[in-house]
């Protein structure tokens, strides 16, 4: 495509609206407009210039702000839909049937539909990911489409602009002053005092400040892209670990997801606020709400397996003792171990007596370790008890057999065979909590004596190498938005035209009120023509002194 040559002699790329150097309107649209569109300095943007090939079309689609905003709106609406009912990960179910049952039971037909449309796990759905991908594409393409030409034209801009450019600015003034030269000198001084960068070119001034704020939007978009790439990286193995484990008091186990590390749970403590310590300030709140938890703590010891040791061997090296608290995870080697959950008082051991039913005499006692029960217990006086069956989470009889719904000892039941000197063949008895069944009438019985419980800590193990990338993305984004939003790019042009009139024009990318205030201060020092803000019809007239006719 051919270049456009401006009357001032500068060659502009094809599609340029305003000459990069002098600002003369080049396109028909720019020539016709009263106030020129200064958004990207009237530069030639690829998306506005090339429209034929398929690449152009894709490029133009994603560089459009209209499309960009539509994608944002789509993500926004989808996200909102995802909060109508709880998402999958907050639902206490594991199977598809379980989920369906949950949503249908609580939310009826709508809930069923929510499940069937996949909205119950919406944020992981392919189409939500596609939307976010499109958003990222749009951010990249729209930014490149704008930043390159903007940079070029701001770099090439000339101090003296063509009057047709000046006249098409939103803030513009024209008039005669007593001493043009003096006005220009004073204006230059004052603008410098107001921290403008001032350039002069025989009878023309260009004062500019905070151009860097124009790069803010592109920098914050880079931040967003870094953030999104960070999230993509989590898919790569080794970058991201997310595991959970239950660790009982007294247990020492390999840490799930962190090979080579072993954790011992020494004690789990749940502490509530007590009335004594909190009486004065919190008393009323505790009265109303009942108990309020103060802390969940797991005291642990972290061990590391010696280098070269075989897995499972006992060569452990202690790393540290630590108290894991909510908000205070255990940190080692890029891993974090969090206090997430707990269960109090799980049965650990149960102690029973073997008794003679008629005499109620005990033949001795034995203790069953519920996590590792033995097959035979010798009571030492010729009597033994054999464990024929163990049902840790007994839930009734199914198909003529006792049934355990889980391996967790929530409701343990046993089938014992009691071998006593009287009955060497043994008697069988089914023993559950508050229940004993016998096949035939027995002479002996197993009686519950005592139980020992322990607490369990629910721990989550995370390793996330992408965190620093995400943090960097956030930081770059913040720098970008602050740079772009807390500063404004302002320019003031003052020049004497060929007929000896003084022209003044100004532009800012936002915050026109403050720019006008600056111009008013400038006019207090230097004798300059009055200006108008052509987009503010309500501007109070008498505030400016000077040529008042332009207000009517």
């Amino acid at each position: 495509m051919s270049k456009i040559k401006c009357q001032c002699g500068h060659e502009n790329p094809y599609g340029t609206e305003l000459c990069e150097k002098c600002g003369r309107p080049l396109s028909e649209k720019a020539k016709k407009s009263d106030i020129v569109d200064m958004r990207y300095e009237g530069s030639s943007r690829r998306s506005q210039t090339y429209k034929s090939s398929i690449v152009d079309k894709i490029w133009n689609f994603f560089s459009s702000v209209k499309i960009g905003v539509s994608i944002i709106a789509a993500v926004l609406i989808a996200s909102a839909i995802g909060t109508i009912f709880p998402q999958k990960f907050y639902v206490p179910a594991t199977t598809p049937e379980g989920y369906l049952e949950y949503y249908e039971r609580l939310y009826g037909t709508v809930g069923k539909l929510y499940y069937e449309l996949g909205l119950y796990d919406m944020y992981n759905s392919w189409w939500f990911k596609v939307l976010v991908g499109m958003l990222a594409t749009s951010i990249i393409i729209a930014s490149i489409d704008r930043v390159v030409p903007l940079y070029k034209s701001l770099k090439k801009q000339r101090t003296r602009r063509h009057p047709s450019f000046m006249k098409r600015q939103r803030i513009f003034g024209e008039g005669d002053v007593q001493n043009t030269e003096e006005s220009l000198v004073k204006a230059e001084e004052k603008l410098k005092a107001m921290r403008y960068n001032v350039k002069t070119e025989n009878g023309a001034i260009l004062a500019e400040k905070h151009r860097f704020s124009r790069w803010g939007p592109y920098i914050n978009h880079v931040g967003l892209i870094i953030f999104i790439s960070g999230i993509l990286l989590r898919g790569i193995p080794g970058f991201y670990v997310d595991e959970a484990m239950w660790l009982r008091e007294g247990e020492t186990r390999n840490i799930v997801g962190a090979p080579g590390y072993v954790l011992e749970n020494k004690k789990f403590t749940l502490e509530n606020y007590t009335k004594e310590e909190a009486e004065e300030v919190f008393g009323e709140a505790l009265d109303k709400n009942g108990t309020i938890a103060k802390s969940y703590t797991t005291d642990v010891t972290l061990y590391k397996q010696e280098e070269g040791a075989l897995p499972g061997s006992e060569s452990l090296k202690k790393v540290e003792d630590y108290s894991i608290n909510v908000n205070k995870p255990l940190k080692f080697d890029g891993y974090n171990v969090f206090q997430m959950d707990y269960k109090l008082d799980e049965l650990k051991n149960m102690t029973f007596h073997l008794v003679n039913k008629s005499s109620e005499e005990s033949l001795g006692e034995f203790t069953v370790n519920l996590s590792d029960p033995e097959k035979e217990y010798d009571l030492g006086n010729g009597s033994t008890v054999n464990m024929l069956g163990f049902y840790p989470d007994y839930d009734g009889i199914k198909d003529g057999e006792p049934y355990s719904k889980s391996p967790v000892p929530n409701n343990p039941a046993f089938i014992f065979q009691m071998n006593t000197p009287d009955k060497p063949k043994g008697e069988k008895s089914f023993v559950a909590i508050r229940q004993t069944l016998e096949v035939e009438e027995n002479d002996y019985a197993i009686k519950f004596a005592a139980a020992e419980t322990r607490n369990i800590s629910g721990l989550t193990i995370r390793k996330d190498k992408t965190l620093y990338i995400l943090l960097l993305g956030g930081l770059v984004f913040m720098i970008g938005v602050i740079q772009g939003m807390y500063w404004q790019h302002r320019r003031v042009w003052i020049q004497e035209d060929t007929e000896g009139h003084l022209l003044i024009a100004a532009h800012t990318n936002k915050n026109w009120f403050s720019l006008r205030k600056e111009l008013d201060t400038l006019r207090e020092t230097a004798d300059l023509p009055a200006y108008i803000d052509r987009q503010d019809p309500e501007l109070d007239k008498p505030e400016q002194e000077g040529d008042e006719e332009i207000w009517t």
């Binding site: 702000v65 944002i72 995802g82 309020i292 802390s295 965190l467 939003m485 309500e538």
Partner: protein, 394 residues
């Protein structure tokens, strides 16, 4: 006097100060003939001084309560909403000093007053912190979010002034309908305050047993007459009102009753106001907005978004993620409150793009600012009360 009492007295002083300051801003508008006089009005300056006094006592409330409880008072609905009102006034003071527009004060302070009244309808007891909240991030994350949201709220207030001024209230139109709907909603909040306060003064209590959503028996106490009953309810205080309808277990009938009472009382109040004024409420306020410069209101609204958006991003997303990673082991979990913070963020991102690239200024931009405020309020009120998640501490 103990610290907690001093603290609530200081809050009361602020409340009164904001009421008085509103009157002075009204005076500033009535008394000034030209725009210049309006910007430099003595009434306005007095209004500002009183607002600043109110803001200082409000800060006093905040820090004495902090001293009393030992943690930043940002841990429940009352504390959060009060801080929101405080920062709203703070943001207003900042923008008033830059732009000196009494009209903004005339709308901002009453809204701050409504927000503070709303806050005091929730339990005001000082509660100890649950383990998840015991972190330095409670203060850092929440205060940054509150500041960001209150600056964004100022943009909605500037938008409201713009709309009240510029919508033609003599002709029937969509804009006229919606601006009146905004006024009606504000009256409904007053309805909530009035109905809750009335029943509180009467010491109304009705107790029920019911079966909750997990099919477990539970108990509940109503502080308003129970229009709706919980799932399979049974009255423990049968001498009190019998509910009209029993609701399914997923709906909290107690909150529903409060809501309906608020709407009923608010609607009656609205009808009364309309009968007295004999015109839409927006038309009543129109003369008070007339003296504001539209261009300036548009700019204040835009500038508030420009200032507030980065602060909101930092507090509600970045600090939130850092804390979420410390406390819940993941920086993002699609918890409803998180999602609605993201929605708020996306909304203002769209707002900025529409404004920068598609030239949505004036009315369109003002409406967007009002909608943004509605989203923030939705996240504060509805997400806490209706959509239960990790954040519903209230």
């Amino acid at each position: 006097m103990d610290l907690v009492t001093i603290s609530s007295n200081l809050l009361f002083v602020s409340f009164v100060a904001y009421l008085v300051a509103t009157l002075f801003f009204g005076g500033a508008i009535k008394k000034s003939k030209s725009e210049k006089a309006y910007h430099n009005s003595k009434w306005g300056t007095i209004g500002l001084v009183i607002t600043i006094i109110g803001f200082l006592t409000h800060l006093g409330y905040f820090f004495t309560r902090w001293a009393a409880s030992g943690h930043a008072p940002l841990s429940n609905m009352f504390e959060f909403t009060t801080a929101f009102g405080m920062m709203l006034v703070g943001a207003f003071i900042l923008l008033y000093i830059i732009y000196r527009t009494p009209s903004l004060g005339l709308f901002a302070l009453p809204i701050a007053i409504i927000i503070i009244s709303y806050a005091t309808m929730f339990p005001t007891d000082v509660t100890p912190l649950i383990p998840a909240l015991q972190s330095k991030w409670l203060f850092i994350h929440v205060i940054t979010t509150v500041i960001g949201e209150s600056i964004l709220a100022i943009s909605a207030i500037a938008g409201l002034v713009f709309l009240v001024k510029n919508i033609d209230m003599t002709k029937k139109s969509k804009s006229r309908f919606w601006i009146e709907a905004v006024m009606y909603t504000l009256v409904l909040v007053l309805g909530f305050v009035i109905s809750s306060t009335t029943f509180k003064v009467m010491d109304y209590e009705a107790e029920f047993t019911y079966i909750d959503r997990d099919q477990a028996p539970a108990e509940i106490t109503y502080h308003v007459p129970p229009l709706f009953g919980m799932n399979e309810y049974e009255a423990m205080t049968p001498e009190k009102m019998t509910p009209w309808v029993e609701l399914p277990p997923i709906i909290n009938a107690q909150k529903m009753s409060s809501l309906v009472w608020s709407i009923a009382v608010g609607s009656v109040l609205y009808v009364l106001l309309r009968l007295i004024a004999r015109k839409p409420l927006a038309a009543v306020f129109q003369p008070l907005a007339k003296k504001a410069n539209s261009q300036l209101m548009d700019e204040i609204g835009y500038r508030a978004v420009l200032i507030g958006f980065p602060v909101f991003t930092l507090g509600a997303l970045i600090f939130a993620m850092i804390w979420a990673h410390e406390a819940w082991s993941r920086f993002w979990g699609w918890d409803p409150k998180e999602v609605w913070a993201l929605i708020t963020w996306l909304f203002y991102a769209a707002f900025l793009h529409l404004r920068l690239s598609r030239g949505w200024e004036g009315k369109k931009s003002a409406w967007l600012a009002v909608i943004g405020f509605v989203i923030i309020m939705f996240n504060l009120i509805a997400v806490n009360l209706i959509i239960a998640g990790l954040h519903s501490y209230a």
